[in-house]
Symmetry: C2
Subunit: 234 residues, 2 copies
């Protein structure tokens, strides 16, 4: 597969960066081709704003998604966005590698999504979920988190991790049509021993070796909803 | 109440900005004092990074939360963060006013959380949820969203809105101990008529008039978990 690895950690020596390096070292050996967007290294600007657009469908009033569509077609997206859109369209698998900040992505990565998942290409109208614009691609998240494994689950203090990550897993990656693989999680990272970290890297190597075979998460199909998006009666 | 209104929309003429203006116009009449952080107007930098810290607990390796704690105590947080922390600690109610981007906040607001909800003050160790550092304060989100009301609910295409917003409502605002009021939602905003928008503003005025009386959302209490955060058997 062609894999785009998007990495977003402010400390180059972090364990999160070690997971990135592990992926870069191992994936080619499994027959994959990898490109990287290291957002902190790139000093990526995550703020969606009017200067993202070299031309305007409506110069007087900014509807961001509408201008994404217009500028993507016109070839006038700001260069930093256009370069990332190219990488996104190139890849078969999008690999997001980040530390969990507030049960979510660091802002630099959230803004990569805001600016790069352009309307018209990635979604639009009824083109979402299994009819999304990026259908046929896969996505996986590799995350480091301060919490411990037992803090997540049906009766656990934070509930299910996949519910906490729902706006990303379902509301973003699946929204644009990608098959979303279960997250790879390194738990309690700031507090664990080097042995435990080594174990995570070993687990990750096993995950990276079997990327093609992992069953994606199950999400609703638009087939179960009518053209106004009301649930179909069965 | 002392209210901090944080607004994050790139278009000053947006309906989201109209909701902000409505709050600014009405809240003083209900006896509230209001301060505003208009993040786009401030050109707020949302990226958490090493330059946020004027001194370092560990100059060789950045653990962002640890340096937040150290720099907050030392008074060496970057000025833009320190100013926002002061406003956050000043307020009785935090009002987040934003358009939903990817079932979540725009990156500029996500980064306001990343940088301003400083460890040590807002949370730390077992100080979270109903024992969070900001216990006693309230929070409310006022959001504009492209989707329609019937797209959210138990059997709806996107499931419950509050589940999609869980990392924010529970994982962030409740995490730091705030009572979280139900979101005020303006649905389908880019597509509705001026009459519908006027109706939203009217509903919002009613909401603003009764802020003191709104029942917060129910979330788990740490009383139901032991000191290792395993569920207590009853």
């Amino acid at each position: 597969m062609k894999i785009l690895l998007v990495h977003a950690h402010p400390e180059p020596q972090s364990f999160c960066a070690a997971l990135k390096s592990e992926a870069l070292a191992r994936l080619p050996g499994h027959g994959h081709e990898v490109r990287v967007s290291d957002l902190y290294e790139m000093n990526f600007d995550p703020v969606a704003r009017d200067t993202d657009f070299g031309s305007r469908a409506n110069p007087d009033y900014l509807v961001y998604a509408l201008e994404q569509r217009h500028n993507q077609k016109a070839g006038t997206l700001k260069a930093d966005i256009a370069a990332e859109v190219d990488k996104l369209l190139w890849c078969d698998l999008l690999l997001l590698n980040f530390p969990v900040f507030w049960f979510s992505m660091p802002a630099i990565l959230k803004g990569w999504i805001d600016r790069v998942f352009v309307s018209g290409v990635c979604y639009g109208g009824l083109r979402f979920y299994d009819r999304g614009g990026l259908a046929g691609k896969k996505a996986m998240t590799t995350i480091t988190i301060g919490g411990q494994r037992h803090m997540f689950g049906p009766d656990a203090v934070h509930g299910e991790l996949e519910t906490m990550l729902r706006p990303l897993l379902r509301g973003t990656l699946y929204y644009v049509g990608m098959e979303v693989l279960p997250p790879f999680v390194a738990w309690h990272v700031p507090y664990v021993s080097n042995e435990v970290r080594a174990g995570y890297l070993e687990d990750y190597r096993a995950r990276l070796a079997t990327l093609d075979d992992i069953e994606p998460l199950a999400f609703p199909s638009l087939d179960d909803f009518d053209e106004k998006l009301h649930p179909r009666r069965r």
